[in-house]
């Protein structure tokens, strides 16, 4: 998203005293006794309506969010909406109303598991906070089994007072229930002695007119003593981290200071301070992604007590408070959005400005964050070479815990087998994915990591990959025996018809191989994840395996210093789509950092950019891996993360470049038909116009070439690393076009055009400055409408790794049909799709897999 800051006064914005409807947080479940409402301006009156019955108004605080207690518990089917009011304006009702549901279809094995935050907990703590709660349920905290805090009708993230304060060494857990349906308790936390001296608190920048100050660096359970211009403002308990404290509007030059303290007899921390900055320093708020059709603006950074105003093309469209402002009308592609923030008596002088694109997916909850069950684990070793460890949903956390009984009542659980690759066998490589195994276990998937160090001797080639595949199949057979052993904790707990595989490096090569070889009765491979895999069959001159009859994903580290050809791209290209396939090409990542036991930064083998921190690697595997397995093994709706329709929170997604395909789409051209560039995969003519020079080329390396970056016969140049045939539109004059004819009256209703595309490199250099092209639709009257790649996320730059291995790596771009518009253009049905190269600095472009998706 291209967001810039501009001077507000120069914009001549047409303002009006309006209010946006607040947002009723979803989901709402039966038995909830509270509702969370956000998006209000400070101190607004919030009016709730349940089934057309209006409840007494409640005054919100200074920060725009409120947990409203209800007079009676909600019932499934109830409809809840809200509006806000100030002395001068009243909003409309939030729309559509939120319909209350039964939580058990969403959480059949019980509500999500509470999470105590932030950690650690300390002796003398008087408050803590609990996350991962269902709104309106009941949450309580125990210390050594005794209840010390409770919030009935809680929010999704809830602070709770602790009384009596925590003692030292107490075992603390949070608990939750909705409709008398209990969740598992939180992970048990042990209270610690506080440090001898707590750190000094810090203040977020305070601006003139603020009615909240935010104090940070607070220990969980500490009390904060706040001074304003040296005068004591009182002592406030805190659940730790950041604490917002309300105050009267502040003036420039005023000073604040704060100390924190845990145990009464201990000395307070050194003071931290802040001085109120003038109104002129108030920055513009920052906003999240926005795309055509959106009816909300997400605020990612603002001053807590600010009123946020949103303008579309200079006219007021929404007023409220963070984190979300509903707007009317919906934004359209090409609209200009301005967002400003004001405080009491302080009109912000700076505005964030965004031009609305066609595609800029919203940030959504990270699919790895689903936390339902405690995590049990055990090691296995049959004494005959089958050994490793298992994480699984359990009754409680820890080794050898019983399998989770409520989940078991629902039937057997899916299972994922993980297989590491070649590394020093002195290192326990199989332990390196524990974070990912735990992610899977806490959402109800058994996760087995296989120790294959016995195969990490000095053997190489297809035989070594087959050895690994055999070990994996043999391990599945071992777990079948566990599943049939009445004395085993996994007895009748495993659903082998929902089996997933994940392999790294040579393990990735093996997991791609296994589905072609396995014949164990009762096993259905539903999904395979190949992380930075090798492809020894390709190197040995054999055909590359075509993953098929299962979902497939490969994760490719762009800075891989070991498997530097990113051979997983060959598996992606060869995969037969069904139900879907996904390629996650990640800039600034290496081969090793996905495994916690693999310590060296292999990217340093070449002169190339520094990679991200290890934890960012892990976030990539967790988020996209969980999206894969949740979709394929649990039936969850997580494909949006793989199809670039939403972004996982907490992942450095600007470095992630996705390719994707699914079944049941119309493929216009995949170039595999051997029918020349003149005809597409629909058997219809392709046309080159206005000087276009395009042809079909092989997109792959030559495995036997002596030298780096050697293209296979028939390739355009040496920079292609997958294994497919595609099209290259050669550089030429601006305005040249390529036209694919499709069936007459091809419907575009709710359709998207997907096309894989890349800027072609020469393998040695990255040209300066980005480039792109336009994609067009031609209606039945021959009228064309165009969209630029810049409004669908842009064409990525080649990854600037070592010269000779700079790759032309295609990614999938989504063009939403609803975004196309031109005078007299009737886009309901079309007869052709086009590309037009229109840049002054013209370059070669690569294309593949042009599809119409509905």
């Amino acid at each position: 998203m291209d967001q810039k800051v501009v001077n507000r006064e120069r914009l001549k914005l047409k303002d009006k005293d309006i209010l946006s409807p607040p947002v009723v947080s979803e989901p709402l479940y039966q038995c909830a006794t509270a509702v969370t409402v956000t998006g209000m301006v400070p101190h607004a009156q919030v009016i709730l309506e349940v089934n057309a019955t209006t409840l007494p108004a409640v005054t919100s605080g200074p920060t725009g969010g409120l947990n409203v207690q209800l007079p009676s518990a909600l019932i499934a089917g109830d409809k809840v909406r809200a509006r806000q009011q100030t002395a001068t304006a009243i909003s409309g009702w939030s729309a559509p109303p939120v319909t209350v549901r039964d939580h058990t279809p969403d959480f059949p094995a019980g509500p999500p598991r509470p999470e105590i935050k932030p950690l650690p907990l300390f002796k003398c703590g008087v408050e803590t906070a609990v996350a991962n709660l269902l709104i309106g349920g009941n949450m309580w905290v125990t210390a050594d089994g005794v209840e010390v805090g409770r919030e009935n009708g809680c929010g999704a993230y809830q602070a709770v007072r602790i009384n009596p304060p925590f003692g030292l060494g107490q075992k603390v857990r949070a608990w939750f229930e909705m409709c008398k349906d209990p969740s598992p308790p939180s992970v048990e936390q042990i209270t610690q002695s506080p440090p001898a001296l707590l750190p000094a608190p810090t203040f977020d920048t305070i601006y003139t007119g603020a009615t909240v100050v935010v104090v940070r660096n607070i220990a969980n359970g500490a009390t904060i003593t706040l001074l304003r211009n040296g005068a004591n403002q009182g002592t406030f308990s805190s659940s730790g981290g950041a604490q917002a404290i309300g105050c009267s509007a502040v003036a420039a030059g005023e000073t604040f200071s704060a100390t924190q303290q845990l145990c009464p007899g201990d000395p307070p921390s050194p003071p931290g301070g802040g001085t109120v900055q003038p109104c002129s320093a108030l920055p513009a708020p920052q906003i999240g992604p926005v795309q055509g059709g959106d009816t909300i603006i997400t605020i990612t950074s603002s001053v807590p007590s600010a009123t946020i105003r949103v303008f579309i093309n200079g006219t007021i469209a929404g007023v409220g408070g963070a984190p979300v402002i509903p707007i009317s009308p919906a934004v359209k592609i090409g609209d200009t959005i301005h967002v400003v923030q004001d405080l009491v008596g302080c009109k912000g002088q700076w505005a964030s400005e965004v031009k609305v694109p066609c595609v800029d997916p919203p940030v959504a909850v990270n699919p790895a964050w689903l936390d339902l069950f405690p995590i049990g684990s055990f090691d296995y070793d049959d004494g005959a070479g089958r050994l490793g460890n298992v994480f699984y949903p359990a009754e409680d956390d820890g080794a050898k815990q019983p399998f989770n009984k409520r989940l078991a009542k629902l039937g057997p659980a899916p299972i994922v087998f993980l297989l590491h690759g070649r590394h020093n066998p002195a290192d326990p490589s199989f332990l390196g994915y524990d974070y990912f195994q735990q992610d899977l276990a806490k959402m109800g998937i058994i996760a087995v990591s296989i120790n294959s160090n016995a195969l990490n001797g000095n053997a190489h080639g297809v035989a070594n990959i087959e050895d690994r595949a055999h070990l994996l199949i043999d391990t599945i057979a071992l777990f079948q025996s566990f599943n049939g052993d009445a004395s085993h904790r996994l007895f009748e707990r495993i659903d082998f018809n929902r089996t997933g595989l994940m392999g790294h490096s040579r393990g990735g090569d093996a997991v791609v191989t296994v589905p072609t070889l396995i014949s164990l009765a009762g096993v259905t491979i539903k999904s395979v994840l190949a992380l930075a895999p090798t492809n020894f069959r390709f190197w040995g001159g054999m055909s590359t395996i075509q993953p098929k009859n299962h979902a497939f994903m490969t994760i490719l580290p762009a800075g891989d210093g070991d498997v530097d050809q990113n051979n997983g791209a060959q598996f992606y290209d060869q995969a037969v789509t069904g139900p879907f396939k996904s390629q996650v090409y990640v800039h600034f990542t290496n081969h090793n950092f996905f495994n916690r036991q693999w310590l060296y930064d292999d990217s340093a083998n070449y002169t190339q950019p520094a990679v991200m921190a290890r934890v960012e690697h892990e976030h990539v595997l967790s988020a996209y891996g969980c999206a894969l397995y949740r979709a394929s093994l649990l039936g969850h709706n997580t494909l949006g993360y793989l199809f670039n329709r939403q972004l996982p929170a907490g992942v450095v997604t600007q470095n992630v470049h996705l390719s994707f395909a699914r079944d049941k789409v119309t493929t216009v051209d995949h170039y595999e038909d051997k029918n020349t560039i003149a005809k597409n995969s629909l058997g219809r003519p392709n046309t080159q116009l206005s000087g276009m020079s395009a042809d079909e080329f092989v997109f792959q390396q030559d495995p036997g070439a002596f030298g780096v970056g050697a293209g296979a016969a028939g390739s355009f140049n040496d920079s292609f690393y997958g294994q497919t045939t595609g099209m290259v539109a050669r550089a030429g004059r601006a305005g040249r076009m390529f036209r694919w004819e499709v069936a007459k009256d091809t419907s575009m209703k709710n359709a998207e055009i997907w096309i894989r595309a890349a800027e072609v490199t020469d393998g040695a250099n990255v040209p300066s400055g980005s480039t792109g092209f336009m994609l067009g639709l031609e209606d039945m009257n021959g009228v064309r409408a165009w969209l630029d790649t810049n409004v669908v996320g842009g064409l990525p730059r080649p990854y600037a790794r070592n010269s000779g291995m700079i790759k032309t790596m295609l990614k999938t771009l989504r063009f939403r049909a609803a975004c196309f518009g031109a005078p007299k253009f009737k886009g309901d049905t079309i007869q052709a799709i086009l590309i037009k190269c229109d840049r002054k600095d013209e370059r070669n472009f690569a294309f593949d897999d042009l599809q119409i998706v509905t």
Partner: protein, 126 residues
């Protein structure tokens, strides 16, 4: 068979993946029987013979995901196994593709050109 220990480079950031030098190569046609697996038939099971390259190195092969490969002209031979310290057996199955007289080079399966080096040996069958 002991593995080559991971030796860091001088800067300590990464393992040193420098390949050893080839001291000798003995080439011969050998009968081949693929490994027997309990659960499937090997993709190599159709081969009855192979060309064996017995390669003596002057040091160990470093440990990494990729393996060492011989390049016989433009044919990569990645199938390899250590026989004893610094002595590896490489097997080529697609015999017809091996061109007599072709220069034999040593490298990794893919990647850095500077890590590949031509040897003083050519492909000839006695």
């Amino acid at each position: 068979m002991p593995n080559a220990p991971l030796k860091p480079t001088a800067d300590g950031r990464r393992p040193d993946w420098k390949l050893p030098n080839v001291v000798d190569i003995q080439i011969r046609r050998v009968p081949f029987t693929a490994r027997q697996y309990k659960y499937f038939r090997s993709a190599l099971a159709d081969y009855r013979e192979a060309i064996e390259f017995l390669v003596q190195f002057d040091g160990p092969i470093p440990m990494r995901a990729l393996g060492p490969a011989l390049f016989v002209g433009n044919v990569q031979v990645p199938e390899a196994e250590a026989v004893k310290d610094n002595l590896y057996r490489f097997l080529a199955f697609d015999i017809k593709r091996l061109r007599p007289g072709a220069v034999i080079a040593l490298g990794w399966n893919s990647g850095n050109e500077s890590a590949r080096k031509a040897t003083n040996f050519r492909f000839t069958l006695k």
